[in-house]
């Protein structure tokens, strides 16, 4: 019997049991759609995070407090990074162009009767250079503002709109934790960074922040949350990393493990890649399980179908079907179910990924590998899980099969 006849026959049987065929395919459809969607989302997250870090520029370095142990074991990082450290880096590390120390906290910001809970960021004037974040209106604060603890503030564009609407905020007084600040600048729109809205923020001099808002300084000096720096050029990033590390080891009198870490953009990209890669793998594995379960569903239905059709199998054998004919017939039925389920599932998966890509910041995209893998795997699953029931069918004794009522 040739293949075309077998396929025609299988299609006839499957269409005669539409409900059952559809339900069987559902498992494969869901499995396939979820593999493609999950891999798409995972890779989208990966791309999104990578682009965020790439947008910082290749020259950026971050200095974060805490030893490797502290960072992996505790949420409560030591507050041993100071404004003085940042100044030392700026003054003594030749490969560094600009340094901005940052101290941040969440606070209520009030203008007249309007209040917004927002991120308050204390930093130095170099922040605008290091993070390529410029003012839209007014002027950013200067070194002398930092030295004199001036109560001036630059508003993120979104916060400015929240508090002032269309009115001009420059020169107005706002209150941060009951300390009044004069608005001197509104920043350009910057967008979100890793889910943090950088426009819903208020930026003030680091010293003012430290003395008046957070009100605490660490025993080491003026505490900062993170220090950002830029190297002179891309080639000197590694040199800068090395020199900053050495300087801070000296300043912190480190003898064993570093109590800080210097990360380059490349480091950050690697870490993000590892994390999101693991995430993608996990999502794919979960989706893969549902694909596998779909395969078991096919096997289950095919086994039921063999039981149900013992008479048909017996008859076919009596009129001349060989074991192989029966085997091929059942395998083809299973494979067709899996293949159609695979194609429909892929279509739904592609639809899902496109929808997620269009409605969320995740740069979700259809991965060709995922599609090939999902379709290939579902086809194989049909074949694999179809073989066992098909063998059961082929083994049936025609006499017994014909007698069974």
């Amino acid at each position: 019997m040739d293949m075309l006849e077998s396929v025609k026959m299988a299609v006839k049987t499957l269409t005669a049991n539409k409900m059952r065929s559809t339900l069987t395919m559902l498992g494969i459809i869901i499995g396939n759609a979820s593999v493609i969607t999950m891999v798409g989302v995972g890779q989208g997250a990966q791309r999104y995070a990578s682009e965020q870090f790439e947008s910082l520029g290749p020259n950026v370095l971050f200095i974060i407090p805490g030893s490797d142990d502290a960072r992996s074991n505790s949420f409560d990082l030591p507050r041993n990074l100071t404004l003085e450290d940042a100044e030392a880096i700026a003054n003594q590390v030749p490969s560094v162009e600009a340094v901005a120390a940052q101290l941040q906290t969440q606070q209520n910001v009030t203008y007249r009767n309007r209040t917004a809970n927002t991120l308050v960021l204390g930093t130095t004037p170099e922040f605008t250079t290091v993070r390529s974040f410029d003012v839209e209106r007014g002027r950013f604060f200067t070194d002398s503002d930092v030295q004199r603890n001036t109560r001036v503030a630059a508003l993120g564009s979104e916060l400015a709109e929240k508090l002032f609407g269309t009115a001009n905020p420059i020169g107005e007084q706002i209150r941060i934790r009951n300390v009044s600040f004069q608005v001197i600048a509104v920043m350009q729109e910057k967008g979100a960074f890793l889910g943090n809205n950088q426009d819903d923020t208020v930026i003030i001099p680091l010293t003012t922040m430290s003395n008046r808002v957070t009100g605490n300084t660490s025993p080491y000096g003026t505490e900062v949350t993170v220090i950002s720096a830029t190297a002179r050029d891309e080639a000197s990033v590694n040199a800068a990393q090395f020199q900053i590390s050495n300087l801070l080891r000296l300043r912190h009198k480190v003898t064993t493990q570093d109590d800080f870490v210097v990360r380059t953009q490349k480091d950050a990209l690697t870490i993000v890649g590892n994390v999101t890669g693991a995430l993608t793998l996990m999502l794919a594995a979960i989706a893969g399980i549902s694909l596998f379960v779909g395969g078991i569903g096919i096997m289950n239905i095919m086994l039921v179908s063999v039981r149900e059709r013992t008479q048909e199998i017996g008859l076919r054998k009596a009129i001349g079907a060989s074991r192989q004919d029966i085997l091929v017939q059942f395998i083809i039925e299973a494979t067709i179910l899996a293949a159609i389920g695979g194609v429909v599932g892929t279509a739904i998966g592609i639809g899902g990924v496109t929808l997620i890509g269009a409605t969320t910041p995740l740069k979700a995209g259809v991965s060709t590998t995922a599609v090939i893998l999902a379709v290939g795997v579902s086809g194989t699953i049909g074949l694999f899980f179809g073989v066992f029931p098909a063998r059961q069918a082929a083994k049936l004794d025609p006499i017994v099969a014909l007698r069974s009522a």
């Binding site: 040739d2 005669a16 009129i319 014909l402």
Partner: protein, 239 residues
């Protein structure tokens, strides 16, 4: 001299072993010549069904030789037996065994699918076979849309469509009323007249009487073989 269609030589079929041994057939010798119309009768447990299965190549004898159309089929593999069933034997069953999802036409075409015959020839031959059993106007009906007698006629068309050397019918009228029994038996008689060998297992003496030879089984052995009354009195089956 022509080859017998069936030649059973000392055929035995034994199920189980030791104390539970069941001797379904014991040294059966039987010859059926081409063109015969033969009924196998006997009480239940007499071995007639087992004999039928052996003759139909659905089951292998434990010992003995079975020549079907001159070929020793005892030593054939499963696949070869499937081929023999496909080409040399046409089966008719008590319960018709038509596939419900297929039309009459498609049911009749099925054996030719396994024989690897082209679609056009399959259509043509199936139509001829269905016309021969008087169902030319029921080609595209599904089994559920046909009466019992019509379903059995579709099954007969399916049995003859591959031009087998013999028709093997297992209680073909067991599920039919007396009126349709007569119709179906008339078809068998007509097919036999046209030269097809027919072997039929039945327990209905009225049915057996319409054949030309009756073979009696008892306790796994052929105990008696004689011409049917119709042959003796020379009355036509079509009366």
């Amino acid at each position: 001299m022509t080859q017998p269609i069936i030649r059973l030589e000392d055929i035995s079929k034994i199920y189980g072993s030791g104390n539970t041994e069941v001797r379904a057939l014991l040294d059966v010798n039987l010859v059926v010549e081409p063109g015969e119309y033969c009924a196998i009768m006997g009480p239940s447990g007499s071995g007639k069904s087992t004999a039928m299965n052996v003759i139909g190549c659905l089951d292998r004898p434990t010992s003995g030789r079975y020549y079907l159309d001159g070929v020793d089929v005892a030593g054939l593999s499963d696949t070869e037996l499937a081929h023999v069933r496909n080409r040399k034997i046409g089966f008719v069953f008590q319960q018709f065994h038509l596939l419900p999802q297929l039309t009459a036409m498609e049911n009749v075409m099925l054996p030719m699918v396994y024989a690897g015959i082209s679609y056009n020839e399959r259509r043509q031959r199936a139509e001829e076979a269905l016309t021969r059993v008087g169902l030319a106007n029921r080609l595209s009906n599904k089994p559920t849309q046909l009466s019992g007698g019509q379903q059995q006629r579709v099954a007969i068309a399916r049995a003859i469509v591959n031009r087998p050397v013999m028709l093997l019918a297992d209680e073909p009228t067991g599920a039919l009323d007396s009126q349709t029994t007569q119709e179906v038996m008339a078809i068998f008689a007509e097919l036999n007249t046209s030269g097809i060998t027919v072997v039929m297992v039945t327990h209905e003496p009225d049915v057996a009487r319409l054949t030309r030879r009756i073979v009696w089984f008892r306790d796994g052995q052929v105990v008696h073989s004689h011409l049917a009354p119709s042959e003796l009195s020379q009355t036509a089956v079509f009366s």
